[in-house]
Amino acid sequence: MMYFITIVRNVILSKWVYKFDFFLGIMESWIELLVHLLVWMSLFATVNGQVVKGYSLSDLITYTIVSRIAGMIANTKFSLNFADSIKTGDISLSLIVPYSTRLIFIAKSLGNSCVNLLTVGLPLLLTSALFESYIQPPISKIHFIFFLISLFGALMICITFELLSGVLAFWKVPGDFIEWYFSIFFVLLSGSIVPLWFFPSWLNELAKLLPFQAVFFIPAQIYMGRFNVDGIIWALFTQLGWVLVLFILHDILWRRGIRNLTILGG
């Protein structure tokens, strides 16, 4: 356990070394958040702040900020390292240490999430102070607790996703493209930018069948109290189901890949 905690600490420290980049990272995420919020403000200004499809400006701003919290925790992005280490053969180093290879990558990604808490969390806090009057508190304490649980679920889905896409490198699929293509699907179908409420109904149905919405949309929905207790439990089970499905898929591929792995002709 201490070993993994050390890995997490090392990732945080290595990011902190480049302080200027660190602050630029804060600025980057701040710009993106602000643009989203201002676009919603201005869109709702054209209808004089009325309700559109049953949702008000305050709903949208709360949604954007809450889904950003989910994104901050779930933004793990280690598949690229994973794929690279398979491609270059560095994975042999992680295979011979007496710790689980995949747990090492997961620990690294947790370190990344901790860094994100600062680089994304800080601008998030500042911005929410600006838009304070629009942000709704969680419906009840129970909803808030379930929200925290679903955040954990979102993190697990992201980790298994990254494991799955990284392992594809065994079959010479370039890691950067996989990551890029997945991020495009995340933009489209997760509701991270436009909530699924506003999607045309066929797309809404499609998105609900895919794992992307379980990362951003479900936690935000739970926070805003759009689900009753049955709905919440159903949503959490959806998340759990996706974690299992993705992990089993990954595990099959991983075992096959490792069995056929040859490094530098070895």
Partner: protein, 271 residues
Amino acid sequence: MSNFLWYLKLYWKIMCMNYKSKLWYHGKKEFFHTLGMFLSYAADIFVISISMSLFNSLGGFNFAEIMFLFSFELLAYSLTNSIVWFVGDTYNLIVRGTLDDFLIRPVNPFLLMSAKYYEIGYIGQFAISLVLLFLSLQHLNLEWGIKEWMLYVILLINSTFIYMGFTTIPSFLAFWFGNTNKLTAIFRWSFKRIIQYPISIYPDPIKVILTVILPYGLINYYPTLVLLRKLESTYKIFVVILSLTTVGIVTVLAIIYTWRQGLANYESAGG
């Protein structure tokens, strides 16, 4: 003039050679790159269209006008990035010193570098933005004569110059400060997000910043105002066009100046 033609031929030749050598190994990779660019912009347009389908306008622009704005920015952006794609590699070029390769040849190193790094993957974006341009013009019922098209081309080239300034100058700072990849990334990608929407949606202080201090608004917002006839008086149109071209020319001079100063400061590997 013959000198210019000679350079054009050289540029073309290096580009072709470079691409042949790339396709030899990674034909698949180039294909996936183009497809990915295509998909990611399709996703952007899709997101804008969904969020706008429920509302009438955004910052005084309707959907077709937003798409015109989007395509204008995308065209300037792809022109810029296909030409100065080397900024993504400044760490190797300037800090690790592979720039030496280009300095020891008897041609202009800037052009040589640009040709060597020319990125053909932007073809997907050119296609998207041209399709968007024609679709939006159709929807807006604008009849463009030869005069308007000429103005369009001039403003586009001008915007490309301004964009190029924002892309290259931060990366040339590597001559003095070492690794500036993150800074360049902010000027290349983050501000792009801001100007995908008309800057009229932002609060006044941000509008002023985007017009005067970091003139990103001049890349697509003001040209769109002129081209879509959103300005009433001819006097205003004249002032906008004049200031746009002035900024464009100043940017080109600034790029040349930083490049020269940077080269004078260049110390090869470990510099």
